[in-house]
């Protein structure tokens, strides 16, 4: 969610009303924005109250004080939405921009528009710059999708051409620089600047996008920087706005947003002059699009979706408060005009939301849905008899968790987990809750294993070592828990019943969870029989008999001390391990007393 900073007094002037902070906070709440903070800032040695306001991520029309003030003023019924006029000069007068084929592989689209006789002040000039910045950060996805360039049109001579050149071949003087540079030098010049995050967008491209006028003056090298020649100043009157990008639709939205916000300062208010762009395929288009469309809604349907009862005219009035002009076509049918500022409206459901906001979410009567369902903690089928062939087949487990057509099944694995957790606590063990993500070292080296041998799921973009892999065992988390509670009285007896993640080519996404039960005992002597006893108790709880149901067999596992470890078998298949941890493992987790551990898969017991 973007947060914008606006001068309170200017905002109030734009709305046409003054508020206390708490009144304004309530207005924001009702409208769906959030007054995050109120700060006093020194600007030109004068104290100014600045509101930090959080704006929903799809409302680009609220990202500047002009748009926000306008929307709130309309919401408070002090004004009506502006009518934007597109002035299209005759074919010989209209400014033209041609896209050349070199741009296609790097940044294929450009759109442009002109604002005439703009009256810039320091304040609205700052706002103009701020809005570009906010758009760049949000809708433009840090200039990857769209980049905006603004120019003093009077310093330029059309027609313009949007080209792409080899970095070494181009030459221009970037904004506020004294010397000309080529593309390679440009990358060097800005590599430590605030622009450095944008350099990779084109750095390794064969051609860099560049816009020229008819005198070969460079307007800009998008998405990095404008040229110095055509820079905007407070005395600029006629502004050319160009948006280049990789997503034409977003270029259009960005251009529409820029001109709808700042045509407010044109001598002919809300009038925008068109530019003709010839795309690579030769097609000619007039910009800005000022996309305006109409959607017809039915009052009854909207009422039904919200759960209110209002008539046509009331609904039209609520829509008007949201900046959507509504016209009653016939009873129950309202034609809604969606202005170019409201690109967030994609579907009639967005109009429904605006009606609900206009009505006030907190004025809607609460009702209880008629939906009548019987909850189900278990499978609807009876639990099947334990049988090695059926139960110990992982694909069946996946199916067991699956939704069965027309027959809602609960998530029995969680029910079983909760029952076993209680058993373990009753056995005197304390529940730990550890992280699923961990380092490669935790699941491999520290347990005496090699990462290559472990079916781990690897994360490609971890910010720290703690998030390199998903755990394949619960033991590292339990050992770390003990390490952090070494000062507690002995013995320390802990457990966790939770999921590990295993890389599994058979699974739909190539990996699957497995529900494990792990127990760890930390004391002055190992006591294999103590943890073994917990296993016996769990098996008894699950009605799995000793020897005919489960048994232990000697095994070797590098995590455990040689000869002090056993594989747990249930109905002939290995479900886990029990034993005394290898002294190296104990030391690897910065512990110094013997540890006994048990870890089994409980999914076979569903």
């Amino acid at each position: 969610m973007p947060t914008i900073s606006v001068n309170r007094d200017i905002l109030f002037a734009n709305i046409g009303q003054k508020f206390t902070d708490s009144e304004f906070d309530n207005l924001c709440f009702e409208f769906g924005i959030e007054l995050d903070d109120v700060v006093v800032e020194k600007v030109n040695n004068k104290d100014q109250t600045v509101y930090k306001i959080e704006i929903p991520a799809n409302r680009y029309d609220l990202l500047c004080v002009e748009g926000l003030g306008r929307a709130l003023s309309i919401f408070l019924q002090k004004t009506t939405p502006p009518n934007f006029q597109l002035f299209k000069p005759s074919d010989d007068k209209i400014h033209k921009m041609t896209v050349l084929p070199n741009t296609s592989p790097v940044r294929p689209f450009v759109v442009a528009a002109i604002l005439r006789n703009v009256n810039f002040s320091q304040q609205n000039y700052d706002s103009f710059i701020d809005l570009q910045d906010k758009l760049h950060q949000n809708l433009c996805r840090k200039r990857t999708l769209v980049a905006i360039g603004t120019h003093d049109l009077d310093t330029l001579k059309g027609p313009f051409r949007y080209d792409a050149q080899r970095p070494a071949d181009l030459k221009f003087r970037p904004l506020n620089q004294t010397a000309e540079v080529n593309g390679v030098e440009l990358m060097e010049l800005y590599k430590e600047s605030h622009l450095k995050s944008y350099l990779p967008i084109i750095k390794d491209k064969e051609f860099y996008p560049i816009i020229f006028d008819s005198n070969n003056v460079v307007l800009s090298l998008p998405p990095i920087i404008n040229g110095d020649h055509s820079k905007i100043t407070l005395s600029t009157k006629n502004v050319l706005i160009e948006c280049t990008g990789t997503d034409l639709h977003k270029c259009e939205i960005v251009l529409d947003t820029m001109v709808t916000m700042f045509s407010e300062y044109c001598a002919s208010k809300f009038e925008i002059e068109a530019v003709e762009v010839t795309h690579v395929d030769g097609s000619k288009h007039i910009y800005p699009k000022l996309c305006e469309r109409f959607e017809v809604i039915e009052t009854k349907t909207v009422n039904k979706k919200i759960g209110i009862q209002i008539d046509d005219s009331k609904m039209a009035q609520l829509l008007a408060r949201m900046g959507l002009e509504a016209q009653l076509v016939e009873p129950n049918r309202i034609k809604v005009r969606i202005p170019p500022t409201r690109s967030d409206i994609l579907h009639a459901c967005d109009i429904v939301e605006d009606v609900a906001i206009g009505y006030g979410f907190n004025n809607i009567g609460k009702t209880i849905p008629k939906t009548n369902c019987f909850s189900n903690e278990n499978h609807s089928k009876n639990c099947f008899q334990l049988n090695s062939d059926i139960v110990l087949n992982y694909s069946n487990i996946a199916e067991a968790c699956d939704f069965h057509l027309g027959n809602i099944r609960g998530f029995e694995l969680n029910k079983l987990t909760d029952l076993l957790r209680l058993e373990l606590a009753q056995c005197g063990y304390t529940e730990a809750l550890t992280f699923t993500l961990c380092s490669r070292e935790d699941v491999a080296d520290k347990l005496g294993k090699k990462i290559e041998d472990i079916p781990a799921v690897h994360i490609s973009n971890p910010k720290t070592l703690d998030f390199q892999v998903a755990r394949t065992s619960l033991l590292p988390g339990l050992l770390k828990t003990i390490a952090c509670s070494r000062n507690m009285p002995l013995p320390l007896k802990i457990f966790e019943v939770s999921d590990v993640i295993l890389n599994d080519k058979e699974a739909e996404v190539g990996a699957r969870n497995e529900r494990r039960l792990a127990v760890l005992s930390y004391n002055k002597q190992a006591g294999f029989e103590i943890v073994h006893g917990v296993l016996d108790k769990i098996m008894q709880s699950l009605e799995v008999p000793w020897k005919t149901g489960y048994e232990l067999k000697h095994t070797e596992d590098p995590t455990f001390m040689p000869g002090r470890c056993a594989a747990v078998y249930a109905y002939g298949k290995v479900i886990g391990t029990v034993g005394v941890l290898h002294p190296d493992v104990i030391h690897n987790f910065e512990l110094n007393l013997p540890c006994c551990a048990l870890e089994i898969n409980i999914e076979p017991f569903l």
Binding site: E30, P56, L433, V509, G510
Partner: protein
């Protein structure tokens, strides 16, 4: 100790009373030992009557103790002088305190000095015998025979800093109503032996110290977050919701984002927010006809009355495996399955499970946390229904005053942030998000057009932290928590 108790009782029996200080002095015992024994006897109700006494007394300092043992400095000097006399210089070298002793002895008129002696000044006895009163008095004080010592002598000694005054607390005891010399040792515990026959009836039992804590029971403990999870799970079950299978932490972008009408350039799909998987990096199995409808919906609205996002949707983006960022990915799978049944059946689902975000970590944010989600799918559900269900749900959590704020979420419209008034904090706190799933999400699944799906979500950690007053999430989850916090955590009565 037992012997001393017996001796004391015998003494009181014989003398009717006892003063601890006198008794200790008479028997040359440590006074504190005697007091301790009396106190232990006092625990037998009615055995003794007692009153506290405080006595003024004096203690001898080191010099005074030396005098009491060896005599005063003047007496020592006197005794060093042979009957023939001695040179003053020689006398002075014989004793460390000779100078002081000499002047005192002179003042007492015990000795005389011949300054005209040819070999130098010579000292001789003036009297034949002396009475060393200082030593006598100090001895008496040391033995606490203060009666024969007059006040003037005491003042003198205090002035000479040989003695200092102290207050000694003692106990004067006499026989109580239930005095006896045959004291039975009180029993600490009722034993099995005492229950054989009537032995317990005649036994005395030691009184309990009710100011001490009992023994900590040897039990296990459930984790506080899990306790809250269990309660919230029960609330959903009470309300007729069925739990969704959420045991698939690895998800592909298709189900996590695309199916939810979250565009492929959405910031949530950035590496800054989402953990991507390098192995297994992509998924290859999708319901292809549904995937095609999702694609069309993103690109042009898919014929569902939407504008769509008007961009070039790529399957490569949808294939990317991630750690799921929300359990809504599971809800999407479940709703898709629901839509595949021949007859749509109204459904209420919930889940509480882990989700993962590649966010900046702070006191309230971890890379993994638990998300609670409730979903209802039925014909013609309204926003009022959602509000009504939220009131029911949150009132079960003890939150009865709610407010809703319009919000933005790519897959719900309308979308509402849920705020609850927290009486303890005396302010409105944001507790969750909710909304009506967008037609662009539901219609490609082939759910009937007039089926609405309302849903809400919140984190499990936040209400738990508020409930238990925990400010740092690391004090609640993960391996760094103090096990004592888990041991000492109360039962979870969620609505309190």
């Amino acid at each position: 100790m037992a012997d001393l108790n017996e001796e004391l009782l015998q003494y009181i029996d014989k003398n009717n009373s006892l003063d601890t200080l006198e008794y200790a002095n008479a028997r040359n015992l440590d006074h504190q030992k005697v007091i301790g024994a009396i106190k232990s006897l006092q625990t037998n109700e009615g055995l003794l009557k007692s009153e506290q006494k405080s006595t003024k007394s004096f203690v001898l300092n080191d010099e005074a103790q030396h005098i009491a043992k060896h005599g005063s400095h003047e007496a020592v000097i006197f005794n060093l002088i042979p009957d023939t006399g001695i040179l003053q210089s020689e006398l002075m070298s014989l004793n460390a305190n000779a100078k002081l002793g000499f002047s005192k002895a002179m003042a007492n008129g015990w000795i005389q000095l011949d300054k005209k002696n040819a070999d130098g000044p010579k000292v001789a006895k003036k009297v034949a015998k002396i009475n060393d009163q200082v030593k006598d008095i100090l001895e008496k004080i040391q033995n606490l025979n203060l009666s024969d010592v007059n006040d003037k002598s005491i003042q003198d000694l205090k002035k000479r800093k040989l003695i200092s005054e102290v207050t000694i607390n003692s106990i004067f005891v006499s026989k109580g109503d239930k005095f006896t010399t045959k004291l039975e040792k009180p029993e600490k515990e009722l034993t099995a032996e005492m229950l054989l026959g009537d032995a317990w009836k005649t036994k005395k039992f030691k009184e309990y110290n009710l100011d001490a804590l009992g023994t900590v029971p040897d039990g296990g403990h459930l984790h506080p977050l899990q306790k809250v999870r269990t309660e919230i799970r029960k609330i959903f079950l009470e309300m007729g919701f069925t739990e969704m299978p959420t045991n698939n932490y690895i998800e592909n972008s298709f189900w996590n984002f695309d199916a939810l009408f979250q565009p492929q350039q959405h910031p949530a799909r950035d590496a800054h927010d989402t953990f991507f998987i390098s192995d297994p990096s992509v998924s290859t199995t999708f319901p292809m006809d549904y995937l095609e409808r999702v694609k069309q919906t993103h690109m042009n609205g898919g014929g569902y009355g939407s504008q769509g996002y008007k961009y070039d949707w790529k399957i490569e983006e949808a294939q990317k495996n991630i750690l799921r960022t929300h359990t809504t990915a599971v809800s999407a799978r479940m709703l898709y399955k629901l839509a595949q049944s021949e007859v749509f059946k109204p459904t209420k689902y919930f889940s509480i499970d882990k989700v993962f975000r590649n966010e900046t970590l702070d006191a309230t944010h971890l890379a993994e946390f638990h998300q609670i989600e409730g979903v209802i799918a039925d014909y013609d559900l309204t926003l009022g229904d959602l509000i009504g269900v939220l009131y029911e749900f949150f009132s079960k959590l003890g939150m009865t005053e709610l407010r809703f704020k319009p919000a933005y979420n790519p897959y719900t419209e309308p979308s509402m942030e849920i705020f609850a008034f927290h009486k303890g904090l005396n302010k409105w706190v944001e507790i969750g998000n909710s909304g009506v799933f967008r037609p662009e999400m539901l219609e490609p699944m082939n759910l009937p057009k007039n089926v609405s799906v309302i849903a809400w979500g919140l984190s499990l950690e936040r209400p738990t932290m508020i409930k238990y007053g925990i400010n740092n999430i690391r004090d609640l989850v993960g391996h760094k928590v103090n096990l004592k916090m888990v041991y000492d955590n109360p039962i979870c009565r969620i609505s309190k």
